[in-house]
């Protein structure tokens, strides 16, 4: 490993390089355990991706199973689930982006214009709180609040109406809204941290000068505060666009039930079901679906990274 990288880095200055490498052998020893971990647990599964192009048989293992080319992929593209999971994934993540992106900015602007330091601190702490709630508890709270018999919403519903409340958790059309807005509720405060920090670095002289010129507080927000956070906001927006096909398994899976499955089945939950969840599982097919998703994600991130590099001159990774 050592000499290999050395060759890549500078093939000509071999003698001096060897000396440099030897001089920091202790650092390589430090790196050894993390690297072994990385190779086994991060790069190891990547070798397993080959089963996406194979017909996996447990007896033959990953390496011994026969190749089938792109069969698994064509099977997925031709299946009726393809359009459904693709659509659900994009709907949920686009909606999350549209709803979730402006909220932290608004929150940061509002918090920043508060004049009482104490109120600001208390408000900030409150908005961070939901971030520490686990996904299981978050979905548990949702289920509890929306329970049609004993939930909080049901109690309010009964005050205004005689009819029985519908079960919102089991409604296909409500799933995207619940998913997105519970996410906004949970992470708005956390996501505003970076904007608040950017606002704290505004030059106070700008505000002083504007005020001398008779600008109102609102005008100062629009013409001073907003432009201050615009660069941060645009980078975050572009980065989020790179994750548009990346809807996590955890929350969607917990919010799923037999009734809302037609809108709640996203790619990651479908991969789980095909590969591990059903009684008859198909490792190869599930891996192919997952790989399809990963490749789109990778492509999006590379595109996004190129765009940010052009815009602000330094790449994100």
């Amino acid at each position: 490993m050592k000499s290999n990288t050395a060759k890549v880095a500078a093939p000509r200055k071999k003698g001096r390089l060897m000396k440099r490498i030897l001089s920091c052998w202790q650092l390589y020893v430090f790196l050894l355990i993390p690297l072994i971990y990385l190779i086994i647990f991060c790069y190891g599964p990547m070798t397993g991706l080959q089963i996406a192009f194979k017909k996996f048989r447990a007896a033959d293992g990953i390496w011994g199973s026969p190749w089938v080319g792109f069969d698994q992929f064509t099977k997925f593209f031709n299946s009726y689930m393809f359009v459904r999971v693709l659509k659900n994934t994009i709907v949920v993540s686009l909606y999350s982006l549209i709803a979730g992106f402006p909220m932290p900015i608004i929150l940061a602007l509002v918090l920043n214009s508060l004049r009482s330091d104490r109120y600001r601190k208390v408000a900030q702490t409150i908005t961070y709180l939901p971030y520490f709630i686990s996904t299981v508890v978050l979905v548990g709270i949702l289920t509890q609040m929306l329970n049609p018999r004993v939930g909080l919403v049901a109690n309010l519903y009964r005050m205004f109406s005689d009819s029985e409340m519908p079960n919102i958790m089991a409604s296909p059309s409500a799933f995207p809204h619940l998913y997105v807005w519970s996410g906004v509720w949970q992470s708005m405060g956390y996501n505003s941290i970076i904007y608040i920090a950017a606002l704290a670095n505004t030059d106070p002289e700008l505000h002083e000068a504007a005020e001398v010129d008779g600008a109102s507080r609102f005008q100062r927000v629009i013409h001073i505060d907003l432009p201050t956070i615009l660069p941060t906001a645009s980078i975050l927006l572009i980065m989020n666009c790179g994750n548009i096909m990346n809807v996590g398994f955890e929350k969607a899976f917990l919010m799923q039930n037999n009734v809302n499955i037609e809108t709640s089945e996203v790619i990651s939950t479908y991969v789980y079901k095909v590969g591990l969840g059903n009684t008859v599982t198909d490792f190869s097919y599930a891996t192919a679906i997952g790989l399809f998703n990963s490749i789109i994600n990778l492509a999006m991130i590379i595109v996004v990274n190129t765009i940010t590099k052009r815009l602000n001159g330094n790449s994100l990774f």
Binding site: F132, R149, P204
Partner: protein, 309 residues
């Protein structure tokens, strides 16, 4: 620092001159917006706390609106009598402590050489790490690997596969690189200090702030995680708290109880609901308690991470 100055200035201004009409409207509007936001965030939390301290009948009759009704601790008694919850709690503490320990050790020993100025091949190693952030083997190949390593149904399946979060590694590396002066290293080197000794007697003591951030991020991650346990554990006695919570809070909520007598059914239902509220609180309070102590580190950590994510 600058924010403070800005603020003092604004406060001073307020004393000098009355607000204009525009400003008064503006402040009213932002107070209303913030009020609504804070209410929507805090109200569900207050409702859960209040419900958990109410009696089962009050909960099932929907009499809890803001404050506890018929103050009682029945929910908590039920939670602490539930064997699954107790074993889940114990398991979660074990997984969190061991997992965080492994995480922080691995992250620090990787961050130190990667922050060094002189290490040949550093860029290549960095690429090896960052590439895993944007591409990975996915759920099924990882599962096959864990299975082939015979880690299914062991604690190792929960603490080893995510031993290093590359994002946290970047935070730690940035910190070591930027806040420990290079002169210190040169001075130590002149005095004949080896890289290993430098790590233990200089880098670690000077990295307390970042270690606090790492402990916080990793520990919360372990405490709240259910996915790995859900995939890799079959043995109920090893389930962490979040998996038990999932069963009680979510999985069972769809099924109706089959008891016919409406009075018993109502009481049972009330108790079941109460248990859920108490459980939510019992499982979340440890994390919330941790938070105020490390708040300053937390914000700092987010900021370091955002400089070079």
């Amino acid at each position: 620092m600058k924010a403070k100055k800005n603020n003092e200035y604004v406060v001073g201004q307020r004393g000098k001159r009355r607000m204009s009409k525009d400003d008064r409207i503006y402040y009213t509007v932002i107070h209303i917006i913030l009020g609504i936001l804070l209410l929507t965030i805090i109200y569900p939390l207050i409702y859960i706390v209040s419900s958990s301290f109410s009696s089962p009948t009050a909960v099932s009759a929907g009499r809890v609106i803001l404050w506890p009704v018929d103050l009682s601790l029945e929910g908590y008694t039920a939670v602490f009598q539930n064997k699954d919850v107790l074993s889940g709690y114990g398991n979660t503490i074990l997984y969190t402590v061991l997992g965080t320990l492994i995480n922080v050790c691995f992250t620090m020993i990787a961050a130190y050489p990667l922050a060094s100025k002189k290490l040949p091949g550093k860029k290549f190693f960095m690429f090896l790490f960052t590439f895993t952030m944007i591409f990975n083997g996915g759920m099924i190949p990882t599962y096959i690997l864990i299975r082939d390593l015979h880690m299914i149904d062991t604690i190792w399946a929960l603490v080893i596969p995510g031993a290093i979060s590359v994002y946290n590694l970047m935070i730690a590396r940035t910190f070591v690189q930027s806040s420990i002066p290079q002169e210190l290293y040169e001075a130590a080197e002149l005095d004949g200090c080896s890289d290993t000794r430098y790590f233990f007697s200089m880098v670690l003591p000077l990295s307390k702030a970042i270690i606090a951030v790492l402990v916080l991020f990793y520990a919360i991650g372990h405490w709240n995680a259910y996915f790995n346990a859900f995939l890799y554990l079959n043995d109920r006695s090893k389930f962490p708290l979040q998996l038990i919570l999932r069963e009680i809070l979510i999985a069972n909520s769809i099924n109706n109880s089959q008891i016919v007598d409406p009075e018993i059914a109502a009481a049972k239902q009330g108790m079941a609901e109460l248990l859920k509220y108490s459980l939510i609180l019992v499982s979340t309070v440890p994390v919330m308690c941790l938070y105020p102590f490390v708040q300053k580190y937390f914000v700092k950590g987010v900021m370091i991470g955002s400089v070079k994510g």
